[in-house]
């Protein structure tokens, strides 16, 4: 057991799902040809002025309301000054002293216990462009399509004490952003990014240790691994009586380690000052009230409702509400088949596995909820066995088939007709006279053998309850 307590704070950048950029009318569409979504404003031409996108304010304020922040009546945009080719103006417009939201919190559950993580601030800013570095030519290529795409940065208090807590906080944050419909939450494409500040201190010490800032983690797994590695690295240093250096470290996915950026980006001095091109932003009480009224049911509330309304376990409700798409899919399926617990089981055991394998979200699921609902009904009414239902699932999922039509076409209906089954039972008993004799002599374990044979003969379509009943009668 380590002698040190880890102290972790997270900075999250979430790309907002607006149609146009934060300070100009260029499109934010992803995957365009380079420099197609660029104008005089976002390319930093002289003499242009930024005009704030009203949706960005609404989205930032809504996130603040969702995590219990105070939304400031007046907030100020500031210039963060540095030079890099993907930043054509030579400064990024951000917020510094007076951000739009402050003093929020988010409760997360880790290993069954609740933990409240403070949220220091949420501010609005513009994204930078993208540099592509040529391996062969002595040049870098700059694409400004992303320049000016709106972001919010959500800064936590250093309240987390383990990699698990950090990941739980991140997942909760991402879930809220997606529920609000203000961010697509895609970590791999970079619309949800996280930097982690990690330091250690001896247990019981109030003063914070020297921290390292971790970057380049584009999945929850990377965040977990990078923080775990960093905690061990710093503990080793401290054990050896060495000092932790305050620096930025990049996570190396292949090696699973963090490595120093070697001070290249160090000694930042951004010389923030209020942007003279933008007057303070005012948010009125009426706006706030309207946005508060528009907030959807958030993940925690929805989870609680799933428990009370559908009788799900809190654990299952957690799984189903983590993604808004999945929760919507579940509710639609449950409504159509009126079997919420069964629908939940099908979604958690079969649907999520298939979605995961196909790398699809529930919103893009090829199998519509109506079809899953019909499958649940087919199984619950006894028309097909649960086993057959699971067997056909991958195919009806992949092709979005109506299970009822599929079952009829393939002749997979369960044989619940006792006359039809009786002949199959008679045949199996007639073909295995030795086993019948042994059974009657007391070797009752052979029941399983007979059931197996009958299932084989009926290609698994026999209703198991009926088979047992018939066998019981015939062997009595």
């Amino acid at each position: 057991m380590s002698r040190y307590e880890a102290v972790i704070g997270l900075e999250v950048h979430a790309q907002l799902r607006t149609k146009s950029k934060i300070f100009c009318s260029c499109s934010t569409a992803f995957g365009m040809e380079p420099n197609e979504n660029v104008c005089a404003v976002c390319s930093g031409m002289p003499g242009v002025l930024p005009v704030l996108n009203e949706k960005v304010v609404e989205y930032a304020a809504k996130m603040g309301l969702a995590v219990g922040c105070r939304v400031n009546a007046a907030s100020v945009f500031a210039r963060k000054n540095y030079f890099y080719p993907d930043l054509p103006k030579g400064y990024q417009i951000s917020q510094f002293e007076t951000p739009i939201c402050e003093h929020g919190h988010l409760a997360v559950t880790v290993d069954g216990s609740e933990k409240v993580v403070g949220i220091t601030r949420i501010h609005m800013e513009e994204d930078a462009g993208k540099n592509i570095h040529s391996a062969t030519e002595n040049a870098s290529f700059v694409d400004l399509n992303r320049t000016g795409v709106p972001l919010i940065e959500i800064v936590s208090e250093p309240d987390m004490r383990s990699a698990e807590e950090a990941v739980a906080y991140l997942k909760a944050l991402r879930s809220i952003l997606v529920y609000l419909g203000i961010c697509d939450g895609n970590m791999e494409e970079g619309s949800f990014r996280c930097d982690a500040n990690v330091s250690l201190r001896p247990f019981g010490q109030a003063e914070l240790g020297t921290r390292a800032e971790l970057k380049n983690m584009n999945s929850f797994r990377h965040v977990q691994k990078a923080i775990e590695y960093e905690i061990e690295r710093q503990a080793d240093l401290l054990d050896d009586g060495q000092a932790v250096i305050q620096e930025t470290r990049l996570y190396n996915v292949d090696k699973g380690v963090t490595a120093s950026m070697r001070g290249k980006e160090e000694a930042h001095d951004y010389r923030y000052f209020p942007d003279p091109d933008l007057v303070p932003l005012v948010v009125t009480d009426a706006q706030l009230a309207a946005w508060a009224a528009e907030l959807p049911e958030l993940p925690v509330a929805r989870r609680d409702r799933f428990v009370s309304q559908y009788g799900l376990t809190p654990k299952d409700a957690d799984v189903l509400t983590a993604e808004r798409d999945v929760a919507d899919y579940f509710e639609e399926t449950a409504r159509l088949c009126n079997e919420p617990k069964k629908a939940a089981n099908w979604i958690m055991s079969e649907l999520l596995r298939e979605l995961n394998q196909a790398a699809l979200t529930a919103a893009a699921c090829p199998l519509p909820p109506a079809h899953l609902a019909r499958l649940v009904t087919l199984v619950e009414s006894g028309k097909i066995s649960g086993k057959i239902g699971k067997q056909i699932f991958p195919e009806i999922f992949a092709q979005g088939l109506d299970p009822e039509t599929y079952v009829d076409q393939k002749g997979l209906s369960q044989i619940s007709d006792s006359l039809a089954l009786e002949s199959a039972v008679d045949r199996v008993l007639a073909d295995n006279p030795d086993e019948v004799a042994a059974y009657k002599a007391g070797k009752t374990k052979l029941m399983g053998f007979f059931v197996g044979q009958i299932m084989k003969a009926t290609k698994g379509q026999a209703n198991p309850a009926l088979v047992n009943e018939l066998l019981g009668k015939k062997l009595a």
Binding site: S25, C26, P34, K55, A139, V142
Partner: protein, 94 residues
């Protein structure tokens, strides 16, 4: 406030300017003069006065979230010192 040549050198580095020693000396003196002049303002008692971020007292105008294309890529790249018609090309940065 006196500005040392070392401080002037730091400011020059942040501004990506390379200045030789006699220029640093000269600019340090000039920066010091400017800052000293600005310090005149410090004589005013501003206790209880809200900071003013701009000389105009109106609220920030906003625009609706609508896409309007105002330039073609050719226009955007027109004055670039170097381009291949798709990207801005700059000296290698890593």
């Amino acid at each position: 406030m006196d500005v040392s040549p070392e401080f002037a050198a730091k400011i020059a580095t942040l501004a990506r300017l390379r200045l030789d020693a006699d220029k640093l000396e000269r600019f340090a003196g000039q920066m010091g003069d400017i800052l000293k002049y600005m310090e005149t303002l410090a004589a005013v008692d501003t206790t209880g006065v809200e900071p003013l971020y701009g000389p105009v007292a109106h609220v920030s105008p906003t625009r609706p979230d609508e896409v309007v294309r105002t330039c073609t890529r050719d226009e955007v790249l027109h004055n670039a010192p170097e381009t291949d018609g798709r990207f801005f090309i700059v000296p290698k940065i890593v």
